[in-house]
């Protein structure tokens, strides 16, 4: 398996950073911001679901923790946006540690782990929906204040750069995983937990670290979401849509790869947007396409688009040689 180099990652990030300055329309710019937010959430999912092999169906719990921290801290306590962002990310890690501590202590994995994460996200959704502190069912509106200290920009291209910066951090974290002892532990855990344990890997500690990092990244996506759309409610922040999109993007792109989540988010949301414009407002068509792509990719390309592209790339020169 060939791994992308840091220089490759840098080239990709710089290329993406240049795109908004080529004169994108407002709609495309918004789509690109959304792609980056989903890519970041998917990168978080990928740490746990891709590298450690613990598929979560409830990453909305982390996304929502970030989004609500951002919204509540700013509107209720007047905390600065950047500080709220840091606290939101920390809260995501904390929620991850909490869910992880309970589930991993009981040795949950596979479908049991998927189900319990889903249940935690639902509990969070119901609580946020009925608690006045979090705005109840009405949700929370953030104040429009543009300027660097408020993390809101009159020129939305700068917000895209901030989101892209976080995606770059996500790429570096994944790259680090592939080159570190800790990442090797995660993969060992995924491939054979008992063998990893027998070789002296502290399985519980490794899983805890993984879910905390995973929660922090996905919470960062939630923070950016709240800051970008300036409105959240329980169904947006803790809704199953985000758990599903994070998982989709990572799996379609290639779970357990550095570039998979980013590629998956761009391809999926790009296709979704295309379907929406082609189908002319029939509701649900974009998600219908997502579902079909997910089934097809599990069936025909279980290792994701990244690996598919690689294997096509490897096959082509072999054929050229034969000819």
């Amino acid at each position: 398996m060939t791994r992308p180099r840091l220089t490759t990652l840098a080239i990709i990030v710089v290329a993406l950073a240049v795109v908004p300055f080529l004169g994108l329309s407002g709609a495309l710019l918004n789509l690109m911001i959304f792609m980056m937010i989903i890519a970041l959430a998917a990168q978080g999912w990928n740490i746990l679901g891709g590298y450690a092999g613990l598929s979560s169906f409830g990453h909305a719990a982390f996304f929502g923790a970030g989004a609500y921290a951002m919204a509540v801290l700013q509107t209720r306590f007047g905390v600065n946006a950047w500080i709220a962002l840091v606290i939101g990310i920390a809260l995501g890690a904390l929620v991850g540690a909490f869910i992880g501590f309970l589930s991993f202590r009981s040795g949950l994995k596979g479908s049991y782990f998927a189900l319990i994460t889903l249940a935690f996200a639902e509990v969070a959704r119901i609580l946020a929906n009925s608690w006045n502190f979090t705005g109840g069912a009405a949700g929370i509106l953030l104040k429009l204040q543009t300027g660097l200290p408020y993390l809101q920009f009159a020129d939305r291209r700068y917000f895209l750069l901030v989101a892209l910066g976080f995606v770059a951090i996500g790429l570096v974290v994944s790259w680090w995983l592939e080159h570190s002892r800790f990442g090797a532990y995660l993969v060992a855990l995924r491939e054979n937990e008992q063998a990893a344990q027998a070789l002296g890997v502290d399985v519980f500690a490794v899983k805890m670290k993984a879910i905390a990092i995973s929660g922090a990244l996905t919470a960062a996506a939630g923070c950016l979401y709240a800051q970008n759309y300036l409105f959240i409610d329980a169904n947006v922040a803790f809704g199953s849509w985000i758990s599903i999109e994070a998982l989709f993007a990572a799996i379609v792109g290639g779970s357990g790869t550095v570039l998979g989540p980013l590629l998956g988010a761009i391809v999926l949301l790009g296709l979704g947007d295309l379907t929406k414009s082609v189908s002319g407002g029939i509701p649900g068509m974009d998600l219908l396409v997502f579902g079909i792509i997910l089934v097809l990719s599990v069936a025909f390309s279980p290792n994701g688009l990244v690996m598919l592209m690689k294997s096509l790339g490897l096959r082509a020169p072999a054929k050229a040689k034969e000819a």
């Binding site: 949950l108 189900l115 639902e122 998600l287 579902g291 089934v295």
Partner: protein
Amino acid sequence: MYSPQIVVEALLNGLMLGAIYALIALGLTLIYGVLHIVNFAHGALLTVAMFMVWLACARYGLDPYLAILFVAPVMFALGYVLQRFIIGPASHGKDNGILLVTLGLSIIIENALLAAFQSDTRTITTDYSFRVVELGPLLLSFPRVIGFGVTIATTLLLWLVLHQTDIGKAIRAVAKEKLGASLVGISVPHVYAMTFAIGCACLAVAAGLLMPSFYVSPKTGAAFVLVAFTIVVLGGMGSIPGALIGGLLIGVVEAASSLFLGDSLGQIGIFLIFIVTLLVRPTGLFGARA
């Protein structure tokens, strides 16, 4: 505080709604017990069955209970085809693959229904939708009393099928020892598909029982998914008596928590049971030790 009569009535109505939950969970637990897969599309398939019942009633004027006789075979066939030709081959027999393929299917089904029927909720009214049955001083909802009876009958029928017929014996054989069963000539993919089909037929019965007192929209099934999973986990994955008792229990808990906590917070009771069961005793009340 509420008067004892209101509390008992609410709990009994909860018990009877729990019976329909149990029926939904029955299909799920059967599929888990034999195929060892978590069928995430179960809720979406329930929605499909409910739409079929709705169509049969709204378009062709059938009674919803009578519609079960037509919808059940269609759901049976649909389940067979889905498992044999889509879920089975697409997931390559991997756990994670199955989880994702059924999740993908549920999203496809939900959104195909959304595209076809929009997100409006639809109901059917029958002259017995709001009728009540008097049991001494207690008033019970008529559709729920029927639901309770039919669920018990369906569970017994399922038990008979599993224990007295050839296909039932084959299903139990595959559940116990897949390799051994295939060595004595049982076609495992066929048995898998039959099991999935029976699970879907149970959903058709549940749909027919729900429609007189419930509504359907493309998202209805999703609301039942976690409830059904809770029942299956609580009763023990793969255990049929577990699903029945778990369902009744969850119905009562839901009724009690929405009586005392209100409708929106009431659902929390179910999820907390779910989380606690998974954490403390993932094999459930009746499940074999993993």
